[in-house]
Symmetry: C2
Subunit: 108 residues, 2 copies
């Protein structure tokens, strides 16, 4: 399966971070998280799942474990299973990140 | 873990496609495949592993199952477990793709 210009499939929402699915396979999930300025995905963990972010557009402030970083397009982030992570868009532009989780979430 | 400008970690080789590791975690592997003009990763399959490509730099010709496509930066490719896939760099520039496999390969 080929998806051209993946970032163009980002789905923004006014009330919270928007999610879009690129691929839901047996062993991994790939999608897009889309943040309007000021939106955030608060600190959380995934037990038994590794998660990576790859920044496609905009600027983010990411927390992974004890580390806080400003991330820009081309930057890569790994949150290992059980590792706390959060992602915020400080603005002023929109933020789009590619997200991959393995194994995929159950029940969508 | 944050890796800035992931593509800058690509490792080219003269004799064949170069590989670099970004993250080797319990449930996924993430890395970079780097192709000089004319290099290719021939048709192959991974049993029990899903694999995705995300194009970072250059132009590629990808085969996934029956589908052949020209891919450019921002394009996303999924090869599901057992699905044949190949990737070639037709040139004239270099090709760098982000690769994610889940579950990770055993023994590197």
């Amino acid at each position: 399966m080929v998806i051209r210009n993946a970032a163009s499939h980002a789905a923004f929402r006014n009330d919270k971070m928007g999610k879009a699915t690129l691929a839901a396979a047996d062993h991994l999930f790939a999608g897009l998280n889309a943040f309007e300025p000021g939106q955030e995905h608060k600190l959380h963990t995934h037990a038994g799942q590794d998660k990576l972010y790859f920044v496609l557009e905009g600027v983010g402030e990411v927390t992974v474990g004890e580390q806080e970083s400003r991330i820009v397009p081309g930057d890569f982030v790994l949150a290992r299973s059980g590792e706390e992570h959060a992602l915020r868009n400080p603005g002023p532009g929109r933020l789009i990140v590619l997200v991959v989780m393995a194994p995929p979430p159950s029940g969508g």
